[in-house]
């Protein structure tokens, strides 16, 4: 509760000083609008923002789901098959040295202007954090547990199911939370590069028409969406997996 009050106060004071600064310095509104005019623009365009938000939310949720599933499958494959570890891991690390931004135009070229290229963008950006976090958890299962399992003559499959996977759930959760922060970035980058709908598209559009207040309204909407998504996912993970997450 105290934390929420602090955050609200921080934002209110930022908005206050922003409003104050703009009123004193009086820059042209297309350079920096006041928070007040952003709010007005948000009200006037609320339907527009809502429609474009829906598109972005759908992209994010599909990308997040597929990206998390793919990441988990990859991590399990890396853990189970030594050969996969030798071949895939260098490949994965190499793929991370290419900035995702750089391949966004390619994705648009290959997959078109629709939702697919944005979903793939989101998948690409969250796939590695999920894989890496989950695999770290799996491979860091304490040796003592595995020794105990060996004296108990546990099978590899059951050791994975009852020891390694439960042990890696906290790391997997960190990976998923990270993914929920990255996924909106992926979707919006995709929309910037080429699209006809979505919050990213709306931002580019507003920017091009010098409607900076709409641009800010979209930006704040995206921010609130991302934070809500992160909060929701953290909460869901916490209540559904609490027994794996406590010390």
């Amino acid at each position: 509760m105290k934390a929420i009050i602090y955050i609200v106060c921080t934002f209110l004071s930022i908005f206050f000083f922003w409003e104050l600064a703009v009123r004193l310095a009086n820059p042209p509104p297309y350079i920096l609008p006041t928070p007040h005019s952003v709010l007005v623009s948000f009200k006037e365009n609320s339907m527009l923002i809502y429609e474009h938000s829906l598109v972005t939310i759908v992209e994010i949720l599909i990308g997040l789901t597929i990206g998390i599933i793919l990441g988990m499958i990859t991590a399990l494959t890396l853990e189970i098959f030594v050969t996969a570890r030798l071949i895939l891991r260098p490949l994965l690390i190499f793929s991370q040295s290419i900035p995702v931004f750089a391949i966004a135009p390619l994705l648009t070229l290959w997959l078109g202007y629709g939702i697919l290229s944005k979903v793939v963008m989101a998948i690409l950006i969250i796939y590695f954090p999920v894989t890496s976090a989950f695999h770290d958890g799996l491979s860091q299962t304490p040796k003592q547990y595995l020794d105990l399992a060996k004296t108990m003559r546990g099978t590899n499959r059951r050791n994975l199911l009852y020891l390694k996977i439960p042990h890696s759930i906290p790391s997997l959760c960190s990976g998923i939370k990270l993914a929920s922060v990255y996924a909106p970035i992926g979707a919006v980058i995709g929309e910037w590069v080429g699209s006809s709908q979505g919050l990213g598209y709306l931002m580019i559009l507003a920017n091009g028409r010098v409607k900076t207040d709409l641009m800010f309204a979209s930006l704040f909407t995206l921010g609130i969406l991302s934070i809500s998504l992160f909060g929701l996912i953290s909460y869901l993970l916490q209540i559904s997996l609490s027994k794996y997450l406590k010390a």
Binding site: D147, T151, M152, R153, R158, Y162, P166, K243, Y244, A247
Partner: protein
């Protein structure tokens, strides 16, 4: 399912790591139905010998053999209990007790499990998680897990090491009583525990591993037994001389 008679085990040979010889000429006879103690200062490699017998990976190589008197494999009828209780933090005490059954994918009698949990005095705690228990209770749970495995050979790696003295007393009695009829190899650095519990005692040393005089049955001896103190003293002297 598992052979009910406990075998005796003989370990003969030398143990070396890449850089040094740990034990030059080792001859251990772990007799059936009694406690055998490996005594030695910390870091000498007591646990390594347990790992060799349990068939767990080690950093050493054994030139020699580990055999049982019934010529059956050893590592698949061993259970292991260490100073660290190794309880799975996300599973209840009850689920921890039957972990072995779960990992082998075999059915088990929950009646038997409850009996064991009752025996170690954790009936009121069986639905709790390990972090909700005290150190002594956790070690009891580890004992219950070992009893649930019901293997003829039990390897104990300083299982009382982290307990306070009251809890330790209770735990020693309970463990000794409940492991009757099994072949127990007990690793400790505490000569007092060795004297009280073991019918054979080996003092591990780099150059030689000596078999030592022990007290006569019945075991366990009481904490204040004068003979225990005498033996403890002479064991301590030998550990010291072995180290130098």
């Amino acid at each position: 399912m598992m052979s009910s008679t406990s075998p005796s085990i003989e370990l003969v040979g030398s143990v070396r790591s890449e850089s040094e010889v740990l034990f030059g000429d080792l001859q251990l006879a772990v007799k059936a139905n009694q406690w055998t103690c490996l005594l030695g200062s910390s870091g000498i490699g007591k646990s390594t010998i347990l790992r060799l017998i349990a068939g767990l990976p080690t950093h050493v190589k054994l030139d020699g053999s580990i055999k049982s008197n019934d010529h059956l494999p050893i590592s698949n009828r061993v259970s292991y209990m260490a100073q660290n209780d190794l309880l799975i933090p996300w599973a209840t005490i009850s689920d921890n007790v039957s972990l072995g059954n779960k990992l082998r994918g075999e059915k088990f009698s929950s009646e038997k499990k409850l009996k064991i949990i009752e025996k170690v005095g954790l009936m009121d705690h069986k639905k709790k998680y390990p972090f909700q228990l005290s150190g002594g209770q956790r070690q009891r749970a580890a004992l219950a897990r070992t009893l649930m495995e019901n293997t003829p050979i039990v390897l104990l790696d300083e299982p009382f090491g982290s307990l306070d003295s009251n809890t330790r007393e209770e735990m020693i009695d309970l463990t000794f009583e409940s492991l009757k009829g099994k072949t127990v190899l007990f690793v400790t650095h505490d000569p007092h525990e060795a004297a009280r519990l073991c019918e054979s005692i080996y003092i591990l040393g780099r150059q030689k591993t000596a078999s030592n005089n022990c007290l006569k049955p019945p075991f366990p001896k009481t904490y204040s037994d004068k003979l225990v103190f005498d033996l403890q003293y002479s064991l301590l002297e030998k550990i010291k001389s072995n180290r130098s």
